[in-house]
C-alpha cells in the first residue's frame, strides 16, 4: 500500500478579478504504508489544499492522487456507498469539527451507522472501544464537546476518524490549537496509535518541532511546491534549500536561552499566490539568489539518497 501523488496541480479562479491562483504546482510524493510524512510550510504554501486532496475533498486540476493504485477522488465520490473510507482527516480545532449539540458518543455513532460499519446492537460497544483506544473513559460518551477539555476533544476527533478503520490519517495541525501541556499527550497518543494500528500519517504543521518529532519523511513546501524533501534527519540536520534553512533558524528554541539575538533570517513576506513570481517562487526572499533564479523554474533533484531539493544554486 502506498500513497502516490504524481505531478499534482490545483488551480483556483478568483471570481471577481479572474486571477488564477496556483495552490499546488507540480507536487509529487510517494509514501509507503505505515510511514509518516511531515509537511511543513507557511500560510499559502498549499499544505491544506494538499490535505484536502488526499482525503478526496478536492479534485486535482491535473495529476493523480492514488492510494493502493486507486484514484482517491473518484473513490470519494462513491464514499457513501463504500463500506469504509480508508482515509480520514483530523482537523486543527476539534471545537469546530465536532457538533456542539451532539453528545460525543452520538457523534461517533453517526459515523458507524451512516457507513453501516457495525450491526446496530454492537454500536455502543464499538463506541466504548474507540474511546478507550484514544484514552477516554467510555463513561464520558454522554458528555457534550464543551464539557471536555481541548485535549479530550481532540482525542474524540481522532476516535471519530478511527471509527471507519482507516489506513491513512491526514492530520492537519492536530496539536496547534491545544495548550502546551496537553500537546505532548496527544503527540504520544498519535505515535502509539500508529504503532498499534499500523497507520500511515500525513502530518501537516507549521511547527517544525512537532514535525521533527513524529515524521519519517519531511516535505518542505513553499508557494505550492515542494522545495525540499527526504528522510527527517537528513532534511533537518543537513538542510540544503535556503528556505528550509531559514525555517529551521526561525523556529523558536527553548533550549537556547538568553542569547538575546533575534535575527530575521528572511526578508519580505510570502508573495501573493495570485501573482506568483516567475522562475523560482522563492527568489525574491532568497539570500543566495542570482539573476537567473528569476527566470529558471526549479525542479526537484536528488542530492543524496532520497533527499531532494529544488534549487539550482546549491551544488
Amino acid at each position: 500500500m502506498t500513497l502516490s501523488i504524481t505531478d499534482v496541480t490545483k488551480r483556483y479562479k478568483i471570481r471577481v478579478t479572474r486571477a488564477q491562483v496556483n495552490a499546488l504546482n507540480g507536487v509529487t510524493i510517494d509514501l509507503p504504508a505505515k510511514k509518516t510524512l511531515g509537511i511543513v510550510g507557511e500560510s499559502g504554501c498549499g499544505k491544506s489544499t494538499l490535505a484536502r486532496m488526499i482525503v478526496g475533498l478536492e479534485q486535482p486540476s491535473s495529476g493523480t492522487v492514488t492510494w493502493n493504485g486507486e484514484p482517491i477522488f473518484d473513490k470519494a465520490r462513491n464514499m457513501l456507498s463504500s463500506k469504509h473510507s480508508n482515509i480520514q482527516l483530523v482537523f486543527q480545532d476539534p471545537y469546530s469539527s465536532l457538533n456542539p449539540r451532539q453528545k460525543i458518543g452520538d457523534s461517533i455513532a453517526e459515523v458507524l451507522t451512516v457507513h453501516h460499519l457495525v450491526e446496530k446492537d454492537a454500536v455502543q460497544a464499538r463506541i466504548a472501544e474507540l474511546l478507550t483506544e484514544v484514552g477516554i473513559s467510555p463513561e464520558l460518551a454522554h458528555r457534550y464537546p464543551h464539557q471536555l477539555s481541548g485535549g479530550q476533544r481532540q482525542r474524540v476527533s481522532i476516535a471519530r476518524a478511527l471509527a471507519s478503520q482507516p489506513d491513512l490519517l491526514v492530520l492537519d495541525e492536530p496539536v496547534s490549537a491545544l495548550d502546551v501541556s496537553v500537546r505532548a499527550e496527544v503527540m504520544n497518543l498519535l505515535i502509539d496509535l500508529r504503532e498499534r494500528l499500523g497507520l500511515t500519517y500525513i502530518f501537516i504543521s507549521h511547527d517544525l518541532s512537532m514535525i521533527r518529532h513524529i515524521s519519517d519523511q519531511i516535505a518542505v513546501m513553499y508557494l505550492g511546491k515542494i522545495v525540499e524533501s527526504g528522510p527527517w534527519d537528513s532534511v533537518l540536520e543537513n538542510p540544503q534549500h535556503p528556505y528550509t534553512k531559514a525555517l529551521i533558524a526561525a523556529m523558536p528554541d527553548h533550549t537556547e536561552v538568553g542569547n538575546n539575538a533575534y535575527e530575521a533570517p528572511l526578508k519580505g513576506e510570502v508573495p501573493d499566490p495570485a501573482s506568483m513570481p516567475t522562475g523560482c517562487a522563492f527568489h525574491l526572499r532568497c539570500p543566495i539568489a542570482v539573476p537567473s533564479c528569476s527566470t529558471n523554474a526549479q525542479t526537484l533533484r536528488e542530492i543524496e539518497p532520497n533527499h531532494q531539493i529544488a534549487c539550482q544554486e546549491v551544488k
Partner: protein, 322 residues
C-alpha cells in the same frame, strides 16, 4: 536594583456577578529597561494581569484588591483622565490580532495622527512623525502605507503598523499580548527582531505575554510562570529555563520536543488539565497533576519563596537537575 518602573502588588481580579477569582494575589515589578515575560496556558490569568495594568479589564471583571504603582500613582484607583494620559504616552499595548487595534474603515496614516492628537501630542509635524514611525518598523513604502487601509496589508505588515502606533508616543513600557502567535514563523522572527531592536534603541521596558516558551527564551530578561491565576515561579530567563524549580515549569519544559534529541524520545506529558482558579482554595493548584504532591500540597498554599535558582511557590522544589 534600581527603582521599579511599575510595581504590581497583591493584584486579585474577580468576576463581578459571582465573585470568582481569576487572578489571585499576583505581585511583581518591572525595572526601567527590563523585559519580563509572562508564560501560562489559557485561563492562567496572564492576559487579565496585563489588561489590569492599563485599566482595560473587560466588562464583568474587576480588580478586587491590590495596587499597581506607576509614577507615584495607583493605576487601579486612578480616574479615567489619569489612565487616559498614561495609556499610549507611558504604557502602550500590542495585541495578537492587529485588527482589534486598527479601525478597518480609516486610513492608517489618519489612525496614527489620531493617536498623537488624542494624547495631546505635538501635531505640527504629525505627518512626518507618522512616516518616520512607519519606516522605523520596516514598512517598505511609508507614503503608500499612510494612504492605505488595514485590509490592504498582510498580517505581518499590520502587526508592524500596530507596533508603529504603540511606539509613536515613545512609551516607557510596552505590553505585548501574544503579538506573533498568528504569524508565520519567518514573519514572527522578523517582528521579534524588530521589537528587540526598538526596545534596545529606546531602553523601553516590556511585558511580553505568551504561551510559547521558545519565543520568550531569547527575548526577555526575566520570566514569570502563571498557573491557575497565580504566579508559581519567577526568575531570570536562564535559571527558569535551565533550572526550573516548580514541577509545573519543569513539566512544561519537558513536554516540548528538543531539537537536539536525536532519538526523539517520548515526550513527557503532564496528566490532566489546569483547574479553574476559583475552585482551588487553600492548596497548591498544581497538586492534582503533580507527581511530587503530598498531603501538605493538598491542604496548604505554597507561597513564592526564593531558592538558589528562582522564586517558586512549591513545597517540593525540583532541586539541581543539571
Amino acid at each position: 536594583m534600581s527603582k521599579p518602573l511599575i510595581e504590581i502588588s497583591n493584584l486579585t481580579v474577580s468576576t463581578t456577578d459571582d465573585n470568582r477569582t481569576l487572578v489571585n494575589d499576583v505581585s511583581f515589578s518591572i525595572a526601567p529597561g527590563e523585559a519580563v515575560g509572562v508564560v501560562g496556558e489559557s485561563g492562567s490569568g496572564k492576559t487579565l494581569t496585563a489588561l489590569s495594568l492599563l485599566g482595560l479589564l473587560p466588562r464583568g471583571v474587576h480588580a478586587t484588591s491590590g495596587s499597581i504603582t506607576y509614577g507615584g500613582k495607583d493605576l487601579l484607583t486612578a480616574d479615567r483622565e489619569t489612565l487616559r494620559s498614561i495609556r499610549g504616552n507611558e504604557i502602550a499595548m500590542i495585541y495578537q490580532d492587529p485588527m482589534t487595534a486598527l479601525n478597518p474603515v480609516m486610513k492608517l496614516g489618519a489612525q496614527l495622527i489620531e493617536v498623537i492628537q488624542s494624547h495631546g501630542g505635538d501635531t505640527s509635524n504629525a505627518m512626518e512623525r507618522v512616516l518616520t514611525a512607519f519606516s522605523e518598523v520596516g514598512i517598505p513604502d511609508p507614503k503608500r502605507a499612510y494612504e492605505s487601509y488595514p485590509h490592504e496589508f498582510s498580517g505581518g505588515m499590520r502587526q508592524r503598523v500596530m507596533i508603529a502606533m504603540a511606539l509613536i508616543l515613545s512609551p516607557q513600557l510596552l505590553i505585548a499580548d501574544e503579538p506573533t502567535t498568528a504569524l508565520d514563523v519567518t514573519i514572527q522572527q522578523q517582528i521579534l527582531a524588530l521589537v528587540m531592536q526598538e526596545r534596545r534603541k529606546r531602553n523601553m521596558s516590556m511585558l511580553w505575554i505568551t504561551h510559547d516558551l521558545g519565543v520568550v527564551a531569547n527575548l526577555v530578561d526575566r520570566v514569570i510562570v502563571m498557573y491557575a491565576g497565580r504566579i508559581v515561579e519567577v526568575g531570570s530567563v536562564k535559571e527558569v529555563f535551565t533550572n526550573p524549580q516548580h514541577p509545573y515549569t519543569a513539566g512544561l519544559l519537558a513536554s516540548l520536543p528538543k531539537a537536539s534529541d536525536k532519538n526523539r524520545t517520548r515526550l513527557l506529558s503532564i496528566p490532566g488539565i489546569p483547574p479553574k482558579p476559583w475552585t482551588v482554595g487553600e492548596s497548591c493548584a498544581f497538586s492534582p497533576r503533580c507527581s511530587k504532591a503530598d498531603q501538605q500540597c493538598r491542604s496548604s498554599l505554597p507561597v513564592l519563596a526564593t531558592n538558589t535558582h528562582t522564586d517558586a511557590a512549591c513545597f517540593h522544589l525540583m532541586g539541581d537537575n543539571s
